[in-house]
């Protein structure tokens, strides 16, 4: 009988402006890595595009970013797009999004095990435990923990300590250093999984947008269906790149006005 692996769902938050083959690679690499630890079984992946309220320069409307992500993931049998975060009125802290998905996963789990209870109402002993949720990100994400006022200390503790991180790195970035540079992250290093992407691939959404602005090809960097969508809706022009220029990023604005207070109500 196989050892009991912990079922795992991977959540990636980000702009996905637009989604690229690299984003989808993150999921593939993370899944392979977590399986190879022998302790986990990846059962799902979630792409959660950030809401328009994030205020990042060049961010196109969430409805487009969601549509493109859906097109890109059409052919995936385990990764889906979730619109909850993008539908919230204001920008949502990563931890709040994680709590939402965790709660949703728990509810689904309880409903499905509820159907498999024995006569005394106990869950069937052969059912697997409730899937855990971990945050999937790139190495540059770890560096954001060092940016003043971008993260609340409590939240870093919760993301790294309670949930856990899977960080995929590439190129010259050294995530081990980012972990070492943070006391909180170091304390939870056993819960931070570092995955090395061996392909020297610096494809980024920023570069894709740049190429599109200049009328250059992005074929084979993002799915054909997404390229078509972009052309149909004429996204990613010089104008679109100027959106939110000069605006303070929402997390910085929000956290600066309420120092030390927990922002989860």
């Amino acid at each position: 009988m196989a050892t009991c692996r912990i079922p795992l769902v991977l959540l990636a938050c980000g702009s996905f402006n637009p989604i690229t083959n690299q984003h989808m690679r993150l999921f593939e690499l993370a899944r392979d890595h977590m399986h190879s630890t022998g302790q986990y079984q990846v059962v799902g992946g979630i792409v959660s595009p950030v809401s328009d309220g994030y205020g990042k320069q060049g961010l196109v409307l969430a409805q487009h970013r969601i549509a493109m992500a859906k097109l890109a993931l059409q052919s995936s049998d385990w990764v889906t797009v979730d619109e909850w975060e993008s539908q919230q009125a204001d920008w949502t802290e990563t931890v709040v999004t994680m709590r939402y998905h965790c709660g949703r996963i728990l509810k689904e789990y309880e409903q499905s095990t509820g159907e498999h209870k024995d006569s005394s109402g106990n869950p069937s002993p052969l059912s697997s435990p409730c899937p855990q949720l971990k945050l999937l990100c790139g190495a540059d994400f770890l560096d954001t923990f060092q940016v003043p006022d971008l993260w609340l200390d409590d939240h870093v503790e919760e993301v790294a300590g309670h949930f856990g991180l899977i960080c995929v790195s590439r190129g010259g970035l050294h995530p081990e250093q980012a972990v070492a540079a943070s006391d909180t992250l170091s304390r939870h290093s056993h819960n931070i999984f570092l995955v090395r992407e061996w392909v020297r691939n610096e494809t980024s959404a920023t570069e894709v947008r740049r190429a599109l602005r200049r009328g250059l090809s992005v074929k084979y960097l993002i799915p054909d269906s997404v390229i078509e969508y972009i052309h149909q809706h004429n996204l990613y022009t010089e104008d679109s790149e100027r959106r939110n220029k000069g605006t303070v990023l929402r997390p910085l604005a929000k956290q600066a006005t309420q120092p030390g207070k927990s922002l989860d109500d």
Binding site: V199, R200, N201, E202, T203, S217, K219
Partner: protein, 271 residues
Amino acid sequence: MDGQHLTKVVLLACGSFNPITNMHLRMFELARDHLEDTGQYRVVKGIISPVGDAYKKKGLIEACHRLEMARLSTDSSDWITVDPWESLQPEWVETAKVVRHYYKEMLEAEQNTDDLDTVKYAKKRRIEENNFGASSHQKKDGLQLMFLCGADVLESFGVPNLWKQEDIDEIVGRYGMVCITRSGSDPHKFIHQSDKLWKYRQNIHMVREWVTNEISATQVRRSLRRGRSVRYLLPDGVVHYIQEHALYSAESEQRNAGVVLAPIQKNTEVS
């Protein structure tokens, strides 16, 4: 027809394509963008020519599979095609011969579309006669075949016995090259350090790939052997094909182990 006389270009890429990856396909896109950006060229066709099994490279799987994967990967392209000619030859074919073959084909195709225009045809013949044996750019009536490759191929010109000097003269001198640079290599330096390449520097179009996209087929094969995902590095159709046919195993990687590469074998043979 616009007044500007753009030279029509066909791009030819030779290689193992073992397997073909998104990076190979990107090379074509980058080359096309670069050439058309100069305002002098219009890229009309791309040809992928997988090498024959007689090349004897370690880990090279059968040409029929490599061809099919390349075909699957170009399904969604309206200008890049795959041609089996090279892979169907019983012996390994020098790259210069492959270039010559496709150049001839390209001219014939152009001629067929011009056959009805007798004036143009006569003009063509005069140009052909004048340019016979010339070492200048083989550019017939605004039509050119260029050899497309990565900087590593350019640098392989320096490997002893891998290339015949006259072949390099022909490919670079007579036809032209489009070379996609990878990080970590300095192809300009390589050209500078080679008198031959320096002579032909006008025929070498260097395309700087700003966004590193080094999907090495060797590492793709390694991942496959280890049961790791290569999705989004190769087109989906190719990933499925590989899985369906269980290509790329420890055994397949041992093929031709210890065998001398065909070009080196040929060039070191006592004639």
